[in-house]
Symmetry: C2
Subunit: 349 residues, 2 copies
DNA sequence: TTTAGCACTCTGCCCGTGAGAGTGCTAATG
DNA sequence: CATTAGCACTCTCACGGGCAGAGTGCTAAA
């Protein structure tokens, strides 16, 4: 791989584009003849052969073995995605399909996420994922406390976007439900509208102020708050359409596939990718070996962030073989992210 | 298949048992020689051969082709599970492992379920599932109402076992949070301690009594209750270790595998099995073609119910190839169900 | 009733062969 | 000088024969 990839002339670009398109649809090494024919006979196979040899030397194409056709490298795909492909926008029908499926889910956040993975996987033929990252900048709508048993309290947190999280907290002392209600009221008046990270700061700060300690109720509230929100809430991952990836010819290798599915189950692995992807604030394509997670080395990821109002909430997208149809999937992910953002933002006025 | 399977003599039983054991561990057709050798030379291969021919005629064994070894049929496994195998109890170490992993999860129901699928899949080498069926007979601990936006209210339901469910309800009128709090208090006083199906009945009955309609608050409460609990809450399914099943040699067929994974994603399919399984009130083994869901025809299911107090909550178990190690997995599922029940029952005193 | 022996069958593997696809190189062409 | 036609070469893959191995079923002997 070279530091500055050499700029290609028009013909080289044409040949590379045609080769990759062909390979994406056929999954088989493509020879010079079939490319030459695609050109409408304007070039002979021999010429194309020469061009392809150049492209192979640049590192955009490779041969499985001498005297086989050419296959795109990750670098080739990168070039294709960055400057060669022309995105094929969704059809009206597809847009309507997506819209129709999202419409009835206004405010049902979990359902919305699940539906998004389904849509993404169905329309792309790959795996759809939706990532809800650490929720530090979600705003708190309300906190409820429910007395479960002697020393156990269930803390329920509702965010402005309608998500519900709960956590069980074990207390040192027994607090009856009546008292819990008072504490909840106090807690709500303190934190409503704040982001979670602000809440965490607030709790720490107020705990430090010793004068707070004279108010038993406040002390209780702060202790509870600390126990509930001390640790960062880890992100959630929705995933759908894993069955799709089994068919892909690149997954004949059973062991590769096993480790891939194991990775899908281990959510933390997927959150890793997210971090890489939230950094850039727009649609991102990660191709094969560019991926930090080794189980995904043979896969590509197309992800786009989605928003709730002006808060970045998470990212969603598609995981599939590097040989995926980028020109179709990129607009799909883009549009889905837009619609999910719109749905989420509609709830908080 | 015969109506009354012929009772086998001791030798036939011995041979069948040895054959199935051998096949379970090797996954290859087993010949008469290897069985004869296992016997400690008490029988010649020729004799075993005759016995196996009988067993094949009875339908307990079959041959992939003439002059190959024998393979157990579903009927053969059935016989093995019912009367041939001797369950191999968990080792102390395994029991402790399970106990240790469950102990810190007292009351964290969702976590407990997830951990159970992990344990089941790890220790069995197959897929672990936990099914929480329609929750009609869960008792209500508390209901909370949170005002989300103008006409949207989030209804949060906490069960006695510590599960949290929520649902968004769209109202015809705007109800401020203050009012919601009053409604919630009323609702709680009405339904605390009832089962969900009782709540549903109550709401219907009270709605019918016209006199209730004069009390605006009560009317609101009932309307809300109806909207929240009208439809049966469908069961939830936790599933883990799907990666395990990929390695199994019986899943070389890609299309079979794809449809299987699609079935795993479609939870409703799995709930079907549950129904079949809750009917019998103990540990159940469903073998291959006995299964009603066609995607699972080549698989076996070992499931056991678990309880919260004296209420049957759901079932959990293992899905794997028919060639699974029943004598180990049956005790595993049994013990796991016992421990999950104990954990769940510990919360509600 | 059990066992030894034997002929038979079916699979899986190795290996050589040949067709097919595609390349790289060279020389001819516009 | 870029392009093309031609050709020898290489590599894969599918096919088929041959062979070893495993296992059976049957028969006859113990």
């Amino acid at each position: 791989m070279r530091e500055t990839s050499p700029e290609l002339n028009e013909r080289q670009r044409e040949v590379l584009r045609a080769t990759i398109r062909q390979y994406i649809s056929s999954a088989e090494p493509v020879g010079s003849r079939s490319i030459a024919r695609k050109y409408g006979f304007r070039l002979s196979s021999a010429t194309v052969r020469n061009v392809m040899a150049d492209l192979a030397e640049f590192g955009f194409l490779s041969q499985p073995h001498t005297s086989a056709g050419r296959v795109p490298t990750d670098l080739g795909y990168r070039c294709y995605v960055d400057s060669l492909m022309d995105p094929r926008p969704l059809t009206r029908a597809e847009e309507h399909l997506i819209e129709r499926r999202f419409r009835p889910l206004q405010g049902e956040v979990e359902e919305l996420m699940r539906e998004a993975t389904k849509l993404l996987s169905n329309l792309s033929g790959s795996v759809g994922v939706v990532l809800v990252p650490r929720m530090d900048h979600l705003t708190v709508k309300r906190i409820e406390l429910v007395h479960l048993s002697a020393d156990r309290v269930l803390v329920i947190l509702v965010t402005a976007s309608g998500q519900v999280h709960h956590k069980m907290v074990v207390l040192d002392e027994v607090i009856p439900q009546e008292e819990l209600n008072r504490i909840a009221r106090l807690l709500n008046s303190l934190v409503e509208g704040m982001s979670l990270s602000q809440v965490r700061q607030l709790v720490v700060r107020r705990m430090a102020e010793e004068k707070a300690m004279y108010d038993a109720l406040l002390r209780c509230a702060l202790t509870l708050g600390q126990k509930s929100f001390a640790e960062e809430m880890e992100g959630d991952v929705y995933i759908g359409g894993t069955a799709n990836i089994i068919q892909q010819p690149e997954f004949a290798d059973v062991e590769k596939m096993r480790s891939l599915f194991a990775a899908f189950e281990e959510k933390s692995k997927l959150v890793k990718i997210l971090d890489h992807c939230v950094a850039q604030q727009g649609l991102t394509v990660i191709i094969g070996s560019e991926n930090a997670v080794w189980e995904l080395q043979r896969l590509s990821v197309v992800m786009a962030p989605y928003w709730c109002g002006e808060h970045l909430l998470g990212t969603l997208g598609v995981i599939g073989p590097t040989r995926m149809d980028y020109s179709k999937i990129v607009p799909l992910v883009d549009y889905t992210a837009t619609l999910v953002s719109r749905s989420l933002s509609a709830v908080v006025p």
